[in-house]
């Protein structure tokens, strides 16, 4: 191990965050799960404490931290399976679009609010008819004088209700090419014609406000185009590396944490008067899971180092994303068996983990999409 060089500053940051989460987040987990949303106030607390958008430079109010700070926030929040207060989605998936492609004026306008938690962001790619097939998106953006008129429906949008700012992908209906017509736009909450649809009811991640977004003759000023016109698809593809990497980081972190809990449980729990962990089958299961987690961790840490160094690790990131998401689901199923009927109870931690993590093989590109693209890299 030891590929990643965490400094004392990093370690201090991690401990501070852990302490903050234990105090401000963990006690509210069930309340937020039941409310199916996280109060905006909680985002502001995260922001004020300096745990949002750590990568944004000081000029815009951020920490100006390196990528390891993002890794730390993602790991610590994944370890407690915090779904709704999804810092990684905001800080390391959506805001980077504005940071990388925004004009100076856009950055000045939005980034300080993103850092402080006053602006919660969402990215709107997926549509009812365009899931894995992102290129099939049908939302339109038409220029009309100084304005752009947006029409369309987006679905499965995380932070869909809380978001104050949406990075939206839409196409120019006059351009036939599936990819060349797509641009990115910034749409603010409250813009006439932008409304929220249903708050979607999911198997897990209950505290996350996943919703439909509707755009009906929604007019935004021309200066709200993000990045180059027609480069939307390229920007999405470019930023997906980090999105998938964050997803892999979260998967490995929760797998490590749940496994630790499972090992402790198997040491303590008696069956027929003997610790559960005395069973050879249980020992092997835990040994296998620990091995899998370590293999995933070693591969992932290398990727984190390469990604932080600016290398293109697109294919490897997909491998890590799909392997770690499949691993965490297989593990949770096995661990649920170890916990027995107790694990089935929602009052045990395992049931929620099991429900929450099922989405990981689907979001940020399904396992099947990952394999399809990996095969392309193999020249197939």
């Amino acid at each position: 191990m030891g590929v990643l060089k965490y400094t004392e500053d990093h370690e201090r940051f991690r401990l501070n965050l852990r302490e903050f989460l234990a105090r401000e987040v963990v006690p509210h987990t069930m309340e937020w799960e039941e409310a199916h949303i996280v109060p905006k106030e909680a985002w502001k607390k995260m922001g004020k404490a300096g745990f949002l958008c750590t990568a944004i430079s000081k000029e815009y109010g951020g920490l100006g931290g390196d990528f390891l700070y993002s890794v730390i926030v993602t790991e610590e929040m994944a370890a407690i399976s915090q779904a709704g207060l999804c810092a990684m989605l905001h800080s390391d998936i959506v805001v980077p679009y504005i940071n990388a492609y925004g004009t100076e004026a856009q950055k000045k306008k939005y980034l300080p609010g993103c850092v402080s938690g006053d602006i919660i962001t969402a990215v709107a790619m997926t549509e009812p008819g365009a899931g894995s097939d992102v290129g099939g998106l049908e939302a339109t953006a038409e220029e009309d004088g100084d304005e752009i008129i947006i029409n369309g429906t987006k679905t499965f949008i995380s932070n869909g209700l809380n978001c104050g700012l949406v990075v939206l992908a839409a196409r120019n209906p006059e351009i036939e090419d599936k990819h060349a017509g797509v641009s990115l736009y910034l749409v603010e909450d409250g813009t006439p014609g932008f409304t929220r649809g249903r708050h979607l009811d999911k198997m897990g991640m209950h505290s996350q406000d996943t919703a439909e977004l509707f755009f009906s003759n929604c007019r935004i000023p021309k200066e709200n185009i993000l990045g180059q016109k027609g480069a939307g698809f390229l920007m999405l593809m470019e930023k997906l590396q980090q999105e998938r990497l964050m997803s892999a980081i979260a998967n490995v972190a929760i797998a490590e944490n749940v496994l630790k809990e499972a090992i402790a449980y198997c040491r303590e729990t008696l069956v027929d008067g003997k610790p559960l962990g005395r069973s050879q089958a249980v020992k092997f299961a835990l040994a296998e899971m620990t091995t899998d987690v370590n293999l995933n961790r070693a591969f992932l840490d290398n990727l984190i180092a390469d990604h932080a160094a600016g290398k293109d690790v697109t294919a490897q990131t997909m491998m890590s994303k799909f392997a770690s998401s499949e691993m965490v689901n297989t593990q949770l199923s096995t661990i649920m068996d170890l916990f027995g009927e107790y694990g089935l109870l929602e009052s045990s931690p395992i049931a929620r983990y099991f429900r929450d993590q099922r989405i990981t093989t689907i979001f940020a590109g399904t396992t099947e999409i990952m394999k399809t693209i990996i095969a392309k890299f193999l020249g197939l």
Binding site: M203, L270, V271, D337, E346, T367
Partner: protein, 383 residues
């Protein structure tokens, strides 16, 4: 073995029609969210004779066998896994009465179960983890013409709703063979000193409530003893083995219900200009699912049929339970995956099938527990 009788085909069709007529998605999804027992459906199912189909006619049962019961369970779970599981568990442990109970107990309680007047429940285990019922601390002591029972039972199905419980109690702590120290005693829910404590919502099977059963100086007549003293472990094991056939049938129905919904989706959903069902990877997944469903059906039907021949093959029961539950898990997991984001949404139901499948996989013993039993029987004695 490879064809059902006309009567069995008719029973399957009747169960299918009943499920179709009585269970609509909106209503049952709401029951699931509310963790509500499907009382109306249970009463109607009883009226039509779907409950206790394998109990004798003199107890208002159907006088048929486990295979008939399995077919009903399969069809109910196929239409709605959570309702199916709840109806399957409605008569939980009544078979203990049927096999070993006195005529008086049978006459008094079995018709109530089959007629949908009362739910029953076995209260065997005591550990937080569930499953293990070898360590029994609950005691039943004879005082005059009564048993005085004290203890705590965990993970009791229908806990809080059942009209009576079949309780595994320590009756002879000094028994020469620890195997023969426990007895089964029927305890009516309205006995003084009996209370339940809900275990709340579970991952799945949320129309079947689970509770802890607390027995505090509960007094019941000596005649409430089921079968012989000291035989409870053998009885509880045999009942659990038999019940695995029902669980296997429920898992088979759960797999099929998930498969049906997935099939509708992949034939309709288009991505990249093709239906999902036209991608080779979807096709191979479907082929795997169809094959495993077929295997699960065969082993489940065989386990039920063997039981109907008057034999008890616990190896087969464990194999069927393990195989069908694993299949239900795999099929529902693949179904979610094929539905993508929609698979994760409650509206599309496969997520509920997945939660119910995992719950079935753990109830009545995980794959690990079943493998212990299968291996023990397969290996036999080692010299």
């Amino acid at each position: 073995m490879f064809a059902f009788t006309k009567a069995q085909q008719a029973i399957r069709k009747a169960a299918k029609d009943f499920a179709k007529g009585e269970l609509d998605k909106e209503t049952t999804s709401q029951w699931e969210k509310d963790s509500a027992f499907p009382k109306d459906v249970w009463e109607k199912a009883a009226e039509l004779g779907f409950l206790g189909i394998h109990l004798p006619e003199k107890y208002s049962g159907g006088g048929l066998g486990m295979l008939d019961s399995a077919l009903i369970m399969e069809e109910l779970c196929r239409k709605d896994s959570t309702v199916g599981v709840a109806l399957g568990y409605a008569s939980h442990a009544s078979e203990c009465l049927l096999h070993w109970g006195s005529d008086a107990l049978k006459d008094a309680f079995l018709p109530k179960v089959t007629e949908g007047e009362t739910l029953s429940a076995g209260a065997f285990g005591e550990s937080q983890r569930g499953g293990d019922f070898s360590a029994t601390a609950t005691t039943a002591v004879k005082q005059g013409d009564e048993w005085v029972i004290n203890g705590l039972k965990t993970h009791v199905p229908n806990g809080g709703l059942a009209g009576f419980y079949v309780v595994l109690c320590q009756t002879d702590p000094e028994a020469a063979k620890p195997e023969q120290s426990a007895s089964l005693i029927l305890v009516e829910a309205n006995r003084q000193g009996l209370s339940t404590e809900s275990l709340g919502r579970k991952l799945g099977a949320n129309m079947t409530p689970s509770a802890n059963l607390i027995l505090n100086n509960v007094r019941v007549p000596l005649d409430n003893l089921i079968g012989k003293e000291g035989q409870a472990l053998a009885y509880a094991r045999e009942f659990t083995d038999e019940n695995k056939i029902i669980l296997a049938a429920q898992a088979l129905g759960t797999a099929l219900g998930s498969y049906d919904r997935m099939m509708d989706y992949v034939k309709g959903r288009e991505q990249f200009g093709r239906k999902l069902a036209q991608f080779q990877i979807s096709q191979h997944k479907i082929a795997d699912m169809a094959t495993k469903i077929e295997l699960s059906a065969l082993i489940t039907y065989k386990a039920a049929w063997v039981r109907d021949q008057g034999k008890m093959d616990n190896t087969l029961c464990s194999m069927a339970k393990m195989t069908a539950c694993r299949t239900a898990m795999e099929v529902s997991a693949h179904s979610i995956q094929l539905l993508g984001g929609y698979g994760y949404m409650t509206e599309y139901e496969v997520e509920r099938y997945y939660r119910d499948a995992k719950t079935l996989e753990i109830m009545a013993g995980t794959a690990g527990v079943q493998k212990d039993i299968i291996a023990q029987n397969a290996i036999g004695k080692i010299r």
